[in-house]
């Protein structure tokens, strides 16, 4: 909190109205209003998303791509329409580039295991970073065991940024560079285009885990220029059960099928099969149809508010949170990650004196304040931070300054309870 932060853009989001769109925020917990500060874990869902799924089930539910009657056509149009919406939302060139998976984890597994198994050889270097989520680590560990790839790590510096001083050496000879666009622990926004260029300069495939980015900032995958981008529906106001793998047509064509069965084939005989066209080649079995409808409604909702406005709001609110917590708790609190809110999302991992995060959040819970404690599926990063666990409060479009104040009050309460 010592660097001079960049100017904070004007917050044009009408948070009072946004809050009303989310039914769960009316809920009371232990007699207090719900203060939901765990959106990096999963987001809440606006009424429009729930209504779209309900309407789908009540009017057009049928299986897709195979129906020869009206509601099946409607269901197919709903699924493919949602694909188009998602494609536009992230700036894809074509909806053939959008593969629906069950979550971001499946999307990253598809990259590592379908593309990776086909193209990686023993000793091939794969570069990831120390701030990755397990979803972008463990599949590569499996390929270390299976193929004998070499895993290289871009380090994180003390300020929570990627340390790119040895980037050239790290990417030298690499076949893959795979990294998060935003850290789910530190909030750090990484230099996506620079990393993509470094990857391509080295002849490597560039994979972006945008699970924390797409929900919070305007995204243009085409401008990024990567080969693959993964993200997940439930963190961006959409339902559980759906994720997205974006890929260029060239790389998707060069990727063999992953999960296989119905829907993803053109032909099956007793001796073999012919895969379907993009993107269905990667969608085996009945897809998450209602979930796609919900995700389509989610991107309509976010697009309606405007992702610039969402980002500006979160930027301003993150700045408020950093200042408030800093002022109220001084040296008793350590907030990890970049000090400048322009360089980060609203993910605030912190420790408070020597109270264990799980004990902290237990007290918060008494007050309806929902904060996660743990390793946030990023154990290698936590180890670099020298922590086994942190408390993590994460902000989204429906949070406001009162929520941040409730968090600060909850920290005070924990401090009192554990008698400091």
């Amino acid at each position: 909190m010592t660097a001079t932060p960049a100017p904070i853009p004007t917050d044009t989001l009408d948070v009072e109205r946004v809050k009303k769109d989310f039914p769960i925020l009316d809920r009371e917990v232990r007699g207090r209003r719900l203060v939901y500060l765990d959106s990096a874990n999963t987001s809440q869902k606006p009424r429009a998303v729930l209504d779209a799924m309900q309407a789908y089930y009540e009017r057009s539910n049928a299986n897709v791509h195979r129906g020869t009657y009206l509601i099946a056509e409607e269901a197919t149009a709903a699924l493919e329409g949602a694909r188009g919406k998602v494609a536009r939302f992230v700036g894809a060139r074509s909806q053939r580039e959008i593969v629906f998976t069950k979550n971001a984890t499946e999307a990253l597994n598809l990259v590592a295991k379908a593309w990776g198994r086909a193209h990686l050889r023993p000793g091939d270097p794969v570069v990831i970073t120390e701030l990755e989520h397990h979803a972008n680590i463990v599949p590569w560990h499996q390929l270390v065991d299976e193929i004998g790839i070499e895993l290289r790590w871009i380090p994180v510096d003390a300020g929570g940024h990627l340390d790119l001083s040895a980037l050239d050496r790290l990417v030298d000879g690499a076949r893959v560079v795979s990294f998060a666009a935003m850290s789910n622990v530190l909030g750090t926004i990484t230099p996506v285009e620079r990393l993509v260029q470094a990857a391509h300069g080295a002849g490597a495939v560039a994979v972006v885990d945008a699970s924390q980015y797409v929900p919070h900032l305007p995204t243009d995958v085409t401008a990024w220029g990567a080969d693959f981008v993964a993200f997940t529906g439930h963190k961006m106001c959409g339902p559980t059960g759906i994720g997205v793998l974006w890929g260029t047509e060239a790389i998707l064509d060069a990727t063999p099928p992953f999960l296989t069965g119905g829907e993803m084939i053109l032909n099956v005989t007793k001796t073999g099969f012919t895969p379907n066209e993009l993107p269905w080649k990667f969608e085996a079995g009945t897809p998450p149809i209602a979930e796609a409808v919900g995700l389509g409604a989610a991107v309509d909702y976010l697009g309606g508010l405007g992702m610039e406005a969402v980002r500006a709001h979160e930027h301003a609110l993150t700045a408020y949170a950093l200042t408030t917590l800093g002022e109220r708790f001084g040296d008793d609190i350590t907030i990890h990650g970049p000090a400048d809110p322009a360089e980060r999302g609203g993910v605030l991992s912190f420790s408070y004196r020597d109270v264990h995060p799980h004990d902290l959040t237990q007290v918060f819970d008494e007050r309806g304040v929902c904060v996660r404690a743990g390793h946030h599926c990023a154990k290698p990063l936590l180890r670099e931070l020298g922590e086994a666990a942190t408390a993590r409060a994460s902000l989204y479009l429906y949070n406001d300054e009162a929520d941040v104040d409730a968090l600060a009050d909850a920290i005070d309460a924990a401090s009192d309870f554990f008698s400091f």
Binding site: V64, H65, R66, G67, T68, A72, E73, T76, A77, E80, G81, R83, G84, K85, A87, R88, A92, R93, S94, Q95, R96, E263, I265, L266, N267, T274, N276, W280
Partner: protein, 165 residues
């Protein structure tokens, strides 16, 4: 609400019942290509014999619904004897006619079809005469059947690619 008559024109049923150019050609010299419609299981095999950049002969086998079979039959009549350039222009024109966008349906409702966000112009040149193929225009009102109607043409394009390479 479009009626069944929009789909099943008399000439379509005629091609279905009396398919033209049905059969096989020895391959090689003919190019043999299979096409599948994963939706309803239509299967088509096209045998294409090209000489001096002209379709010398074409034969169709396989199984499918009235729309896919009659479209294949019409296609075979339409391309036989034509130059490859003419065939490509015809194919563009036909696929243009089958493009759901032309019918100004919502792009979001395009279904499991050709679904570019920025579809190119449909390429229906002013001087391409579709002739009998016009009878299939009603298919676009039944989006699911578009794949049936375009199967033969997509398979033909694949055959053209393969024979030229």
């Amino acid at each position: 609400m479009p009626g069944l008559e929009d789909l099943y024109r008399e000439i379509i049923l005629d091609h279905y019942r009396n398919p033209r150019n049905r059969g096989e050609l020895p391959s090689p010299p003919a190019t043999r290509v299979e096409g599948f419609n994963p939706l309803c299981g239509d299967e088509i095999v096209i045998y294409l014999d090209v000489e001096d950049d002209r379709v010398k002969d074409v034969r169709i086998s396989g199984q499918g619904c009235s729309i896919s079979q009659s479209s294949a039959s019409m296609m075979s009549s339409a391309v036989k004897g034509r130059t490859l350039d003419e065939v490509r222009a015809l194919s563009r024109a036909f696929k243009g006619m089958m493009s759901i966008h032309e019918q100004s349906l919502d792009a979001d409702a395009s279904g499991n079809g050709d679904s570019d966000i920025d579809d190119e112009a449909d390429g229906t040149g002013p001087d391409v005469k579709l002739g009998d193929l016009e009878a299939l225009r009603g298919v676009v009102k039944f989006p699911v059947r578009i794949k049936c109607a375009t199967l033969a043409w997509n398979t033909l394009l694949q055959a053209l690619d393969e024979q030229s390479s």
